[in-house]
Subunit: 363 residues, 4 copies
């Protein structure tokens, strides 16, 4: 039975002036389950009003009350009133800072890569594997302030394909091989990120570290907790090969994916039904940010397209189209995900909602 | 021993006002082997000066003498002075018109898809399989005017991957499977072609008929002439799966490609050497338009990129980068080709140069 | 005293499958004052379900109930249940069709240019001159079915500058000269509209008829009704020069504007205050779609920008920035307007809301 | 009588790894009048091979011999063999470094802004006012090594409008007022320069310092040397107002310009003839890089366009179109210039060619 809220969850945001931090602000300020309580950024920004410390780059207007908030440095003592911490920190600083919040007893929902592959840290796409949160108890064994834990969400390009593979494997059994080519949006690189001279009238066939992240993170996300809930068993025998490209798109990562089943493949119609009917734990828990439909399946011949489909279900759904036979593997399709919503800040938020519903922290 | 030229080859261009036709004009007017003799277009344009009939969309300036030429309708009687015919016609009209020129005794080098898969018509990427021209004699058996023949060039997205696969198979033996995802330029769709509202800040994961063309044409291009040179044996046992996407790039088709060898794969270094050393018949014949290096291999981590690499060797080379191990197949890499040069008009022109060198027509 | 609504206004949409028609559907379906009742399009579409007749190109999802509606041909007999008609018709057919609805007694709110300059037809930017609706009584004198009338809204590029000039002249007296250069979005040209090959990495310094429309329409919008309310007195002695450019922007027309006052100019601070305080009749009437703030004034040095500011007040506000001294004229500034909202469909809708509040039609 | 060359001019390039420096390399390596002798960059780059020190971002291939050159730090002692110095240095360091080369006796052709407005330093658009070089003798009075001098070229957005105004004023007398709005390419901001998130689907109506530069530099360029050739008289009574915008274009600055004559204006046809017939000193001197036609006049209704016209005369010509009556001033038109060729590196090179022809330095 899901835990009920008596009041909004008070949220602190680390890295609040950056790209992910700005997205956290937009999403949390529109979410009745949360109240933005404290904004943290680098020493350079601390003490300034948020509107002066940040260079707002999102088309949704900066809420006026947030604009007036004083930015704090990222030390736990400034975040005393917060129930949860969202981290949009850069990997170069996320390690130490997130650890200090964890040790100070905060539930930390992190978008950074630093702890994703740590054995007792869940790596969660919220429409895939919130069940993995069972492992946070293991993290807390070592702590004095027993409430603290860290939950990470995945690399932005993993989330879309992860939810599709999860849905398919849940019904049809193991997939043997996945070959995917991504066409990723510029917002995935943060701000200033990709120079315009590098991407206008261009494709850049390389994103540092991205292919490795997909190939590794996917196995953990699609794996399961071990029997004692002290760690994770990655999915064995799943071969993944990713080729990552940057394209001139603002938001929305698209991937062309081919998959081969370990056993006899289902029919295309069976796959479509399976995807349409897929329901994740976050939906069953009634989480506010959970998409109504976790996987949108389109039959239009030229969809999904990032500009038209990235905001499906407020950016929390994956959209799949062009499901067809693959002449080399079994099935191929195109999947799209909003990289800064389900692929980043939105995932952290839905993870936090699910963690609360599951009773991992109280108000 | 290659035939020598006594004077420029006089060229007629069918579909001269279209996108491919304009590219023919630019390339031929810069090529000392040719002289543009007659321009053909639809009845609507015939009788007009070329500068009035066409809507020039290429950054290279329209040569002044060409601007003044009177456009003819596409009937063989208007092309009497021409040695060869280049066709940039749309598939909807190319069938009948090209046939009429063929039957009137003209060598026709066609960029249209209509005759590509006809059993006795060569389908040629000029840096891959000019040897297939041996079959034109078979075409001429049925003709009164025995000089006529048709040579086609491939779909624009096939040419880049074809030359790479050809080079690899020539040295290392059969490839078993090819999985490729293309990111294709808007110029591939002609003019007006892709609406700006469809492609700005967007990817369109579908190009009508394109995946089928790649999957079929590749087998013919990589195949061989049969023993009697009356037709072609497609490459057997090669499985190809293509996923085609349109991206906001003006010129240059990029593809992420994974390949699996039938036998033990060579090392990455062996593949790089093989590609660097690859030399095609058109190069050996000394054709003017042949690239100095048919396959440019780059070691830079983020290349090839369409904006920076599409004009390598004047657009007649394929550029390959990111050659690396594929965790699912054996090897993966990125290949780039200029879709309106090696992928279209440039291919027809180099095919014509090779055909002349081989003595298939005289001046 | 504004007329109150007893039920939603039933709306018919002409040209429902086009770009403006699609925007009408999005805006009306989110507007509680209206109910979409009938969709009209060309004979070719009539009888089909809307989802089959249209090629939906807007990122907001097509409402499911609208998708199921049967499209009608644009004849008044099919629109019996409608209280008002919105026309997104192309100018080539708008003339006759809109007239037939007018003569059949329908209030027609048209986005087409056909009747804009007709002496007894109001040309209205809803945040500028809804007072001009007083003239519709003159239209009705000639009618049997006395309820019909036509109200037009302006060219998309006029609306932004019109509201700014209106605000300034209301407080500071006549402007003598206006010189403006527009940078207009591709959506202003409809679909398929601008070819991607024409606009990627490019500026097109010409939009057919656009400069003339700005130079003429502005004088009517900023003018007044004549004493008898039978027509309009255009603003005399206002000189306007427009240079119109198409730029690679999806939505949002930006203009660099310089103005010279007839008398001594106000200070920059006076102008900013004036713009911030400006309130139009539609706001005073309490119209649902009226912007909270008709003119957003930004002090940020590099704003307004179309991607970040076009949706201010749901696209119904103009945003002005960079208000500074002009070394040649008196003052210069940048103004931005969402061309398909305040500049097109949104204007028609707010005009209809104002007309109802003012009692020009009943339910 | 123009000085003749006995051998190529040996060129040193300061700031060789930057955007302007890369353009210098491309242009000089294709120019038979010059030989690239020494490449200078920051201490960080010095000692490295150029190919390792630079991040090549131009589609023209980096010449192989240049790729192998060892980069030097920007001290005059490393440039002993050079006849001239081209500076593509950033303004933050250009002041001291250029001065040290000047004092060491080098002719310095600088693209930086530091010395543009210094009284005895010529500010030259090479197709406008190479006559201003007469003032360099004044610079040399203070020097021991009397050969040194500094010639600067203008801000990239000034050059196009300067050549048009020069041509018009030379024939028709003084212009009273100029109002112009620019739409500038991203390459004008260097690399990394404009972030892609700032410019995709966007216009930025602000470029720091740019409007002031246009308003001030234009008066010096269109002015004349004083009677004693010790400095410059700026053009009096010319009022200039510029509004500068950044647009998603890679190369080529477009401007919409309105002008008012001090006296009766000429006819449009007279202006067109005047522009077509305009010939500058660099052309008369027979300089290699001088455009054949300094001002291209187009009658096509929708030109000039950056993508199609920026390379006219190898990027050294300005292209003017849409010459028409201005309802507020006298005449309006659109002018386009390649910002990194005539607007930057190309200008420095043509200035150096003219300086040599005029005998300002010897080999």
């Amino acid at each position: 039975m899901a835990q009920q809220q008596s009041r909004p969850i008070r949220a602190g945001i680390l890295g609040a002036t950056g790209t992910v931090g700005q997205r956290f602000i937009v999403l949390l300020s529109q979410n009745p389950c949360f109240e933005i309580h404290t904004l943290g950024a680098s020493e350079r920004s601390s003490g300034k009003k948020y509107s002066e410390a940040s260079n707002w780059k999102i088309s949704d207007a900066l809420p006026l009350d947030i604009a007036q908030l004083e930015v704090k440095s990222c030390h736990p003592e400034h975040f005393g009133g917060c129930d949860v911490i969202f981290s949009g920190l850069d990997a170069s600083v996320a390690g130490d800072i997130e650890k200090s919040f964890f040790e100070s007893g905060f539930p930390v929902f992190s978008n950074a890569k630093n702890y994703r592959m740590v054995p007792n840290v869940p790596l969660i796409v919220p429409t895939v594997n919130t069940e993995h949160m069972a492992v946070v108890a293991e993290q807390q064994k070592s702590l004095t302030k027993t409430k603290g834990f860290i939950v990470t969400n995945s690399n932005c390009s993993v989330s879309g394909v992860a939810v599709v593979l999860k849905a398919i494997q849940s019904r049809f059994g193991k997939i043997d091989s996945v070959l995917l080519t991504t066409m990723q949006a510029i917002s995935g690189a943060g701000y200033p990120g990709v120079a315009s001279l590098d991407i206008m009238d261009n494709v850049v066939p390389y994103i540092s570290g991205e292919e490795e992240k997909i190939e590794i993170e996917l196995l953990k996300i699609l794996g399961s907790t071990n029997q004692e809930n002290t760690g994770f068993d990655t999915q064995p025998d799943l071969k993944v090969s990713a080729s990552c490209n940057r394209v001139p798109v603002i938001d929305g990562h698209t991937a062309s994916v081919s998959i081969k089943f370990a056993q006899n493949p289902p029919s295309l119609e069976e796959i479509k039904s399976c995807l349409r009917e897929y329901e994740c734990e976050a939906q069953k828990l009634g989480c506010h940010s959970a998409p109504k439909v976790a996987i949108h399946v389109t039959e239009l011949p030229d969809r999904p397209q990032p500009r038209l489909d990235r905001m499906n279900d407020n950016g929390m759904a994956a959209t799949v189209g062009r499901i067809r036979v693959c002449p080399v593997f079994d099935v191929k399709f195109t999947v799209l995900v909003h990289n800064t919503v389900l692929g980043a800040a939105g995932a952290s938020i839905l993870n936090a909602e699910a963690a609360f519903k599951k009773g991992l922290f109280q108000l």
